[in-house]
Structures are given as structure tokens and as C-alpha cells.
């Protein structure tokens, strides 16, 4: 195991400008009864991926509230991560034939890692399936163990889930990003949303000069409507479907489409999807397909801010935090009603939901025809994110969870 020292510290007070002084006072009040209490977060990666990104922000904020928090990351060889990746996909519903050896490898690395930690914190939070068997090392006593599952368990592979459930059911509670992702369990289950950081490079305010530079760099015309989908080149994000929707809209509005995502060069499937997207674009000069290096957070931020409408036409989705990112920037969003998206898009209040290519096109046309409604959806969307999907709200939820466990509520 390796203890991670979180980087990019942003003082809690800085968030007062965004969420208000009252919210920060409230965090301090909730943390007061927990001052000095020990918390341990355990996951399987220190960099890359949403969990590491959130813990990198959350841990320093918790420290600032005088909580004794540490973050440990599992160590594992390729064979372990091969197994956990297969488990991950199988839990998402992909076909998978688990072999006894896979379970042995999984348990063996859990055992090795567990042996290096005392696991005596008062509150232990285990993230995702990789370290789930750490519960075997739970010392007798009154400390609290909770399992935070960041993945969609609505249609899991039976064999993998049956194996994991034996461990999960021994926790004091489990947290899921959406009720849809949860299972019928004997332990209490809680709703815990992922969160965005309003002060990170991906979400912080930008000056208009920089936004214009980014548009200029990619030859995007700021004078005409810009439709944008930010997502990796993955069939489940349906980039080709977005192009089909754009073509319908284009009959009525002289608009542009931006499809921006991470580089597909090191992902064989991503490269294949990118080819399909380029083919579907048919050299239309108003379709900009951008491969951004390591997601270039400031550029993503600029593209979202420059957009007239942000689209997220996924066929399946985890939580889909790009929706919250766009809402935070007060952008009207048209998105598919899948995964965690309906939690973020309350239809006709914080955005518009769609269920097909034609539906997506219709909602985009509606918003382009009614900019005042689009603006209102964006305003409401911003408030919705402020109330529910910011890192400060996530911290508040953790504090409430620890207090609840402590008080046996």
C-alpha cells in the first residue's frame, strides 16, 4: 500500500466566493464533532480516473477541517489489474466467464495489501471493488466500514457479483451514485453523487480572450451556434448519433458541431470509433473533431463556455459528470435519459432529456429557437450543481455520513 499525499491544495476559504460563507460555516459546524477522528480512504489508483481526482480534492479539504484523514492506494501487478478490469467490465454487464484462478488472484492481492495496514481508523471508506475484501481485516471493535461503489451495478455478471456480495454485505453501508445502480442488499445503501471542483482548471472562470483564442485555434466561428459534446471516442457515447442529430438541426439552423475528447491513439477501440466518426462527418467543415491531449482541462473549459448548447447523447452512462460541468457554466444541455444523467437533468427544469437521435435534434432545435428558455435552463442547472454536485457538497455528505454512523441514526 502507498499513502498518497494530495496535491493541488486549494484552501477551503476560497470556496466561500463560490458557495457562500454560510456553506463554509456549515462545513465547519458539521466537522466540529468529528475533529481529530480518524478516517481512512482506500482505493486502487492515485492518478487518473474520477475517484483519484475527487480524493485529491477531498482529502486536503477534510484535513483543513481538522479531521485525521489518510488516503492509501493498493499496489498490484498486471495480473491483478487484469482481473479487476475484467471484473469491472463484467459488473457493467459485459459477458465474462470467471475462472477460479481469477478469484484467487483477486483475494491474494487484497490479502497482501491488507497485511501492510493497521486498518484501525474509526471510519474506513473502501472505494470500488478492487479493495473490497479488505473487510476481512476489519478489527473487532466499533469502527465503521463503508463501501463506496462508483460503478453501475444494475446489470452485473452474476458470478462476479455473487463473489463480491459476500464481502459487501459485511460493511455497515454502501454508497451508490444513483438508485438505479444499487442492488438489493441487507445493508443500508446511500446516494452519494460524484462531484466537480468549481476551482479546478476544468471549471474555473476563464477570461473571454482565452476562450476566443481556443475557438480561433480550432477554427470555430463564434458568430454561429456551437453544439458541443465532450467525451472520449467510445460507441457508448454515441458520437455518430450526435452527428446524425446535428444533420437534422443543420436543415434549420446554420450551426457547428464540436466533438472533443481525449486522444484515441493509445486506445485501439477509441481509434476505431474515431475513424467511424470521421467517416460520418464526411469532411463537413462545420464538424470539428478534436483529439485533446490528456483532456486539456482549460481547453475543455473554454469549449464548454463557448458552446450554445452542450449535448451528451450517451447510450449508457456512469454518472456523466460532463453534464454537471456544462450546467455549472450555465449552459443549456440536451442529454440522454441514461445512467446518472436524469439526476443532473431534471427535464424541462435544468435541461432537456431525449431518448433518440430525432428527439435530441428536436430538443436542440427547440432551444435554438427559444434562447430565453435555454438561458433559464442554464441558470437553473447552475443552481442544481451548486446545491448537489460540487466538491463542497460531497464533503458535507461525507461529514453527515460519519456523524450518522457515529450516532447510530
Amino acid at each position: 500500500m502507498t499513502e498518497v499525499l494530495a496535491a493541488n491544495r486549494i484552501p477551503l476559504e476560497k470556496y466561500a466566493d463560490v458557495v457562500g460563507v454560510g456553506e463554509i460555516e456549515e462545513l465547519r459546524a458539521l466537522a466540529k464533532p468529528l475533529r481529530g477522528r480518524s478516517i481512512e480512504m482506500i482505493n486502487s489508483t492515485a492518478v487518473g480516473g474520477g475517484v483519484a481526482e475527487i480524493l485529491n480534492r477531498l482529502v486536503p479539504l477534510a484535513e483543513e477541517l481538522d479531521l485525521s484523514i489518510r488516503w492509501d492506494v493498493m499496489k498490484g501487478a498486471e495480473e491483478f489489474f487484469d482481473v479487476t478490469k475484467s471484473f469491472h467490465n463484467a459488473l457493467h454487464g459485459e459477458p465474462y466467464q470467471a475462472k477460479p484462478r481469477n478469484f484467487e488472484v483477486f483475494l491474494s492481492y487484497n490479502e497482501q495489501n491488507r497485511a501492510t495496514l493497521p486498518l484501525d481508523a474509526e471510519f474506513v471508506v473502501i472505494h470500488d471493488p478492487q479493495p473490497v475484501a479488505f473487510i476481512d481485516g476489519r478489527p473487532s471493535g466499533s469502527n465503521h466500514w463503508v463501501w463506496r461503489c462508483h460503478i453501475d451495478l444494475s446489470h452485473p455478471n452474476r458470478a462476479v457479483w455473487d463473489f463480491l456480495e459476500k464481502f459487501v454485505s459485511r460493511y455497515d453501508g454502501a454508497m451508490f451514485s444513483s438508485p438505479e445502480f444499487s442492488r438489493q442488499l441487507s445493508i443500508p445503501q446511500y446516494l452519494f453523487y460524484p462531484a466537480i471542483d468549481p476551482l479546478s482548471e476544468k471549471n474555473c472562470p476563464l477570461d473571454s480572450e482565452f476562450i476566443q483564442q481556443v475557438l480561433h485555434r480550432y477554427q470555430i466561428d463564434p458568430q454561429r451556434p456551437i453544439l458541443t459534446q465532450i467525451s472520449r471516442f467510445d460507441r457508448l457515447k454515441d458520437p455518430v448519433g450526435v452527428i446524425r442529430a446535428y444533420r437534422i438541426v443543420k436543415r434549420y439552423f446554420d450551426c457547428q458541431l464540436v466533438l472533443a475528447g481525449g486522444s484515441a491513439s493509445d486506445d485501439p477501440e477509441g481509434a476505431l470509433v474515431l475513424k467511424e466518426v470521421l467517416r460520418a462527418a464526411e469532411h463537413d467543415p462545420d464538424i470539428k473533431i478534436l483529439e485533446l491531449p490528456a483532456w486539456a482541462p482549460l481547453e475543455v473549459n473554454a469549449l464548454q463556455r463557448a458552446s450554445t448548447i452542450v449535448v451528451q447523447k450517451s447510450l449508457r452512462e456512469g454518472f456523466g459528470l460532463t453534464v454537471s460541468e456544462a450546467l455549472w457554466k450555465k449552459k443549456p444541455v440536451v442529454a440522454s435519459a441514461v445512467g446518472g444523467i436524469p439526476t443532473q437533468i431534471i427535464h424541462k427544469h435544468t435541461g432537456l432529456l431525449a431518448h433518440s437521435v430525432e428527439g435530441t435534434a428536436y430538443q436542440i432545435r427547440f432551444l435554438l429557437s427559444h434562447p430565453e428558455i435555454a438561458a433559464k435552463l442554464g441558470e437553473h442547472g447552475h443552481e442544481h450543481v451548486k446545491e448537489n454536485f460540487l466538491i463542497t457538497q460531497k464533503l458535507k455528505r461525507y461529514l453527515a455520513l460519519f456523524l450518522m454512523l457515529d450516532r447510530n441514526l
Partner: protein, 219 residues
């Protein structure tokens, strides 16, 4: 200026959402869920929802109405569910009874829609309330105003909206204290009449502060 014998203690509340094991895909299943879910679940989808979606002032009042509209497209039923005003209820049992009556009447009158599948399922959840004192109290109107001005949304919601069930009176913590401890009945009534459906929490607080300021000018 009146001084209260019992100070007003500002508290904040944080709510965790506990996911239940019930869900509904049709209006008939929604009715079954409404009949059998916990009180905490009714609270979560009506009172608590008003707090988390406080910035919406049009057409949104509770999760049941919103799901009926967005998933089953039954705007007539959604309208009736939305029309139930939580300020009229001092018990969850009474609110549950009316929610069930509205859905039952609709399903009986239009059985062809009762078993029609909605676009998304409705998941019954519960609220778990965790309260902590903010360490601030007020003994007179000036101190009260100062405390009120700096409250978070959650704290304001706790005192102004969810308190109605706790007190089991058709009033809120603020009005109750202003009336009982400072004898300011007219001010208390005016604050109690602020419409929580057509105001955001911020605008409700601003109206409350304006009413208090008007009262202070009388002194």
C-alpha cells in the same frame, strides 16, 4: 427592543439519502409504493425535495409529480400531485393519505394508464437527517436578523420548511419563536405566509429579512 427568555438557537441539518428497496415503473406501482413506503420516504420526496430544488419556482413541487410528468407524461395527474401543499400538513400520514387518494382516483378513472410503463423507474428513497448546532443564538430581533442573514441553504430549509413537521403546527421555527418569545405575532404571521413554492430559499430569506427590517424600523 424585546429580549427573549429562551434564545433562538440556529442549527444546521445535513440530509443523507438512503436508497430504499422499492421502485415503480407504472402508476399502479407508484400507488403501491406510496401505500407501503416509510414516512421518511414520503418526507424525502416531498419536503426534502423542496429544499434540494429550492431554486425552481415554477412547476416543480415534489418528486412524485415530476416523475408522473416526465416519465409517464400524465400532466393531469402530475398537476394534482403538485397541487398538494406541504404547508397544509402537520403529519406525514395525512400527506401520504392524500397522495394515495389522488393516484388511486386517477388509476380508477383511467385504468388504461395505470399499468402503462413509464420511461424511467421511480426509486423510493428516504432522508436521514443529521443536525448540529451552528453555535450561534439570538435573544433579540437584531441578533436574530444577523443570524438569519448568514445561514446556509440547508439551515434555512431546516428552520423554515422541515420544522413544520417537527413542530406539528402550521408554522415554522422562525415564526414560532418570534411569536412565542418576542411577542411579534404580526411579523411571525407575515413570515409564515411567504410562499415556499413560488420563492427560492434565497428569495424567501430576502423577504424574511425585509419583513424584519420593517419591524425594526417601528421600534
Amino acid at each position: 427592543m424585546n429580549v427573549a427568555e429562551t434564545p433562538f438557537d440556529f442549527v444546521t441539518a445535513s440530509y443523507l439519502t438512503r436508497i430504499g428497496n422499492q421502485s415503480a415503473g407504472t402508476l399502479a406501482e407508484l400507488l403501491t409504493g406510496l401505500e407501503h413506503c416509510s414516512d421518511a420516504s414520503i418526507f424525502h420526496h416531498t419536503f426534502q425535495t423542496l429544499g434540494t430544488h429550492h431554486f425552481l419556482t415554477e412547476g416543480f413541487s415534489n418528486d412524485f409529480a415530476q416523475w408522473t410528468l416526465s416519465s409517464t407524461n400524465r400532466s393531469d395527474l402530475a398537476e394534482q400531485l403538485a397541487a398538494l401543499d406541504i404547508r397544509d400538513y402537520t403529519s406525514i400520514a395525512a400527506l401520504r393519505s392524500d397522495l394515495c387518494r389522488v393516484v388511486r382516483d386517477f388509476c380508477e378513472a383511467q385504468p388504461q394508464f395505470a399499468s402503462q410503463s413509464g420511461l424511467e423507474r421511480f426509486y423510493f428513497c428516504e432522508s436521514v437527517e443529521v443536525t448540529v448546532p451552528l453555535g450561534r443564538s439570538a435573544c433579540n430581533l437584531d441578533e436574530f436578523r444577523d443570524g438569519l442573514e448568514h445561514l446556509s441553504h440547508a439551515s434555512f430549509y431546516f428552520h423554515f420548511i422541515s420544522s413544520r413537521l417537527r413542530l406539528q403546527l402550521q408554522t415554522n421555527d422562525f415564526s414560532h419563536w418570534l411569536s412565542a418569545s418576542l411577542g411579534l405575532r404580526t411579523l411571525a404571521d407575515s413570515i409564515n405566509h411567504i410562499d415556499v413554492y413560488t420563492s427560492t430559499l434565497d428569495s424567501a430569506r430576502a423577504k424574511t429579512l425585509r419583513l424584519i427590517d420593517r419591524e425594526r424600523r417601528k421600534v
